[in-house]
Chain length 451, copies 2
């Protein structure tokens, strides 16, 4: 007798098979892309000592953390993949080689108020490059290539990586004597997209209490737009007034300079001086990524350069650069908006084999042979009517059904039906394998996201 | 200033990069093998409502569970992948097609006393086939094929899948009037490997309080060994005395009959009447898998047929068959015993590109081109002396280093050094790609486990 209602907690994503197959495809594609740049996979515990995980402490994060006692141990679930990385690098410093390049794709936990599209358990996909003491700006130049490869492979056509450099901002505020108000100014400028330039100018004057001429300077600076060459030319006009600014400009020029060599098209890249990101953390290049036809999604891949990864755990200076994708939310939105293609592989197999005879050996052997040929093949196991078997194949969304009845056995062939076109033909085992392989390759080539 | 010592909790596995790469290879191989049989991936939350997760309640498990409150919610971390599967199938029954074949590879949590080789967070890799009301025995016959494929692909040469059928045991105990003592007898017989036949016989007489002749019957039955044909012939002598026994024998004969068609060699399979497994749960075929050269590891893949997956959540009868590998412990032991090969891919990339000129464009473009050719290529980014660069390549364990200096640029070639042989030569970009691809394919073909 059933005694408990089976339910999944709100804020926790649990997908049906066809959607899960798409999610797995996304995971596989990310692993492949990150590996192609020499990032090594990392897997850290979901549970850490609360003292270690909350070393930084304070803020919204701490309130959201899942924290609990087990025996005498004060434990917490990781709320991001950055703190575990800092712990890992500090703890295993002597055993690692730097630059240390790792990717980690894993679940993190935040007990936020549950609401549509907000998750308490969600995947993050992070890559980071950590230096020992120093880290060349070339690493910052490589990041756009990785973002570009990732979204191109996912099938996103119109996307733009928006880049800024915190040294440009800090230098600009310093040269204008606004350093003290920098954080406040940046928070205000961040509203540009939402409230528009005029409202931001008014906020700067009325709320941040800036002189109108200084507010004007900020608005002029943030309005610098255009091709990469145009933006850099405009920024060159500020050169010589602040050492930090000049450093930031040189770094930006390095990032822009190698874009083409890295294979990043100019249309996928833009300097955007309004981007700031995590105010206390980032110190150099910062990145956001927008799907241009879906700006309402916001940035789908963000990050930047930081100078002190693990200050709470070690006195060593460990600078790095990293980016992160909030996969669960990204997938949820893509799915909601109908942007996920069914073509690529919403089927758990390439073919379903239906035995049509009492003696099952030929069907079993045929399935085994097709698997040996590299195919994903499910053997239908139940004794049901033909119609029920076909209906199962249909609901599973399998591309092909292979029949093996007395006729086929006598002729030494397989009957194979394309479930999409309805076309059915008789083929030898080798021909069947070739057909299925070609079809599987075609589906593998289809992108996950269709815009 | 560092304020907290970075540490990982005891009982939580955290691997260094070279080992993690091997673990990831194992994960990838399992996903591939399970997919090739048409299993669909599943991912359920790590956190569930305690009421749902502990519906069955009681026993050792409940004591080990990580359970805690968050706000008003009584939560728990999953301690296996079977209960979440039961919940999933019961909750999504109407949206699933049966037989429902899923695999799940994920972390589970048990707050056991930490000791060497015991983990509090560990991966399980499960496959299950769930029927709606009924499930054909053919599914039980397919399981050995999947186990066989899995361990063969992992590189284990001498392994044996040991199979029994609970109906044979239950029937045998019934025909001997021992049903009431069945559980106690099975627990005693389970010690055969450890304490030997004579001690088991004495236990049956002295502890289980059996008549010597009845204990003899048990010992005779458990001693049935030999080829599949011999075992079945021996079991046929018991036919006709108990309906359950006869059913079990027919099922066993079906499993054995199709082994060859499924591609399972007789040497990888043995009927073993001493195997019982989970006393209240399994109802038909049960499986254990031994690495014959490492029997001390115990069963590395176990499971069986059950008749009631989700009785706590639904009144529907959902029979199934499944197997599970405790991946973290399995990997730990393989690693401890030096059974993991370095050949397959302990390197995060196929080649490390070392730019040797001030201008980095050619090296960056060369790396991008090799990636386009499907290779995993890391660009070395730091300004260091040549010796430091080579030492980095060495510590990373990369198979090839590619140099690009003035000479190479002038000649339009790349210098490529095999880090294993020390051999260095100049090749065109296409030749380099071909060489790296051949080498990567060779490493991919090497098995993870070397016996």
């Amino acid at each position: 007798m059933a005694t408990v209602t089976p339910r999944t907690l709100s804020g926790f994503m649990e997908l049906l098979p066809a959607e899960q197959l798409k999610f797995e495809r996304m995971l596989a594609l990310l692993r492949e892309t990150y590996s192609s740049y020499g990032f090594t996979p990392l897997d850290t515990p979901v549970i850490e000592s609360a003292e270690v995980l909350l070393a930084k402490g304070g803020g919204e994060t701490e309130k959201q953390v899942y924290r609990f006692m087990k025996g005498d141990n004060d434990l917490a679930l990781r709320f991001d993949l950055t703190v575990p990385l800092a712990k890992y690098v500090a703890a295993h410093y002597a055993e690692l080689s730097f630059p240390f390049r790792r990717y980690q794709i894993g679940k993190v936990y935040r007990g936020e108020r549950a609401q549509r599209g907000r998750f308490r358990e969600f995947y993050q996909a992070d890559i980071d490059i950590i230096g020992d003491g120093k880290l060349d700006v070339l690493n910052e130049a490589e990041i756009p290539a990785i973002i570009c490869d990732t979204f191109t492979r996912l099938g996103v056509k119109r996307f733009q990586i928006r880049v800024n450099n915190r040294k440009l901002l800090n230098g600009f505020y310093a040269m204008n004597g606004m350093s003290e108000k920098a954080a406040e100014i940046m928070r205000t400028v961040d509203k540009l997209d939402k409230i528009g330039a005029e409202a931001v100018r008014q906020c700067l004057i009325n709320d941040v209490k800036m002189l109108p001429c200084k507010a004007e300077n900020v608005m002029d600076f943030m309005a610098v737009k255009g091709t990469n060459d145009e933006v850099i030319a405009a920024l060159e006009r500020y050169r010589g007034m602040d050492a930090t600014f000049d450093e930031g400009l040189d770094e930006l020029k390095t990032v822009v300079r190698y874009l083409a060599d890295f294979g990043v098209a100019e249309e996928n890249f833009a300097v955007d001086l309004t981007i700031a990101r995590g105010l206390d953390y980032y110190t150099g290049t910062v990145y956001e990524t927008l799907m241009l036809d879906h700006p309402e999604i916001g940035s789908v891949c963000s990050g930047g350069r930081y100078d002190d990864l693990a200050g709470y755990y070690t006195d060593r200076r460990l600078p790095g650069v990293g980016i992160s994708i909030g996969l669960t939310r990204f997938f949820y939105i893509l799915s909601e908006q109908g942007l996920l293609s069914d073509e690529g592989g919403a089927s758990p197999c390439d073919a379903l084999i239906l035995p049509m005879t009492e003696e099952l050996s030929p069907a079993i052997a045929a399935a085994a042979a097709l698997r040996k040929a590299g195919l994903r093949v499910q053997l239908y196991t139940e004794k049901k009517k033909f119609k029920a078997k076909m209906s199962y194949a249909d609901r599973l969304g399998v591309p092909y059904v292979v029949f093996l009845g007395e006729d086929e056995l006598a002729e030494g062939v397989l009957s194979i039906k394309d479930m999409r076109s309805g076309e059915q033909r008789k083929l030898t085992a080798d021909e069947t394998a070739a057909l299925l392989r070609a079809d599987a390759a075609g589906r593998a080539a289809a992108t996950l996201i269709k815009e």
